[in-house]
Homo-oligomer: 175 residues x 2
């Protein structure tokens, strides 16, 4: 049920069309929560039916921009404060690690190096983004501060995963 609330939350910040939301999701939340456009469009229709969002304006080529209603914002608040948090940390690389014993040492070493490089580069990209936010390049709204917080989690988690990959490589030597 998280997609519902995330969509309302994004619309509470500013009105947007299904298309806009698809792209924002992709760039902003794509690595944390999946959402293709078919799911977004159908969820938007449901949300409109439930009165949690409403059409704000119609643009060219059938573009419909939605905004969150008061009921919608209240529902997101309720979700944030009352609904129990799901702590499942779903991460395929971690699942794979349970089966490392099936890989031969060379393959494992190569794999771990690729993984570490991936996490490092992602952490670096997020660091740049965070630095830009800290320089005030996106203003200083509460929304930007929340994004800064999420970015910080991304940085720390990816740093951690990079270090972990390196640690695995060192504690299970090739030969």
């Amino acid at each position: 049920m998280s997609l519902r609330h995330a969509l309302i939350g994004l619309l509470a910040e500013q009105p947007a069309s299904g298309w806009d939301l698809t792209r924002r999701f992709e760039e902003l939340l794509g690595s944390v929560w999946p959402a293709g456009h078919p799911q977004i469009y159908s969820e938007l229709r449901r949300l409109e039916g439930d009165g949690l969002i409403e059409v704000e304006s119609q643009g060219p080529r059938g573009r419909k921009a939605y905004r969150a209603t008061e009921a919608g914002v209240a529902e997101v608040r309720r979700w944030l404060t009352e609904v129990e948090v799901d702590h499942t940390l779903r991460l395929e690389p971690l699942l794979r690690s349970v089966f490392f014993w099936l890989m031969n040492p060379d393959e494992l070493a190569a794999h771990l190096e690729r993984e570490a490089a991936y996490y490092r580069s992602l952490a670096d990209r997020l660091r740049q983004l965070a630095a830009a936010k800290d320089r005030g390049e996106f203003g200083d709204s509460p929304q930007v501060r929340s994004l800064r917080i999420a970015a910080e989690a991304g940085i720390r988690l990816n740093d951690t995963l990079a270090e972990w990959s390196t640690w695995v490589g060192e504690s299970s030597p090739t030969a």
Copy 2:
């Protein structure tokens, strides 16, 4: 498609029934990958049909224990080395953080404290498990070493999340 491979991987370690696998998944991988028994039973039937696992023995009350076939183990190896890793880190608390600006400061502070406590206690439990493994209480097979590696990721990630939650609380004070 990860469930398929995880099931074969578990069966490569030792034969088990659908029931056994359900419980092992729950306790071992439940916080990293979801799998209820209906999904496991139906996946086992498919895997048997594909020749990747086979019935090893039949026990009381219709219990069927499966083991991985050679083709099955080969398929897991192929997955580990050739199939691209999905790096999506699906984590609801991180999604929620993007919308922290919608929470009032008191609620947020309380929320962050609960979160930090959760991560700390989970990290501590994993630390105990890891220590037991390091003391050799589970022997020293390659399988146990892989589990130790996975546990290390859990420890580090949960520590990171606990620190992050604390950091958020400190950088966005209540009053």
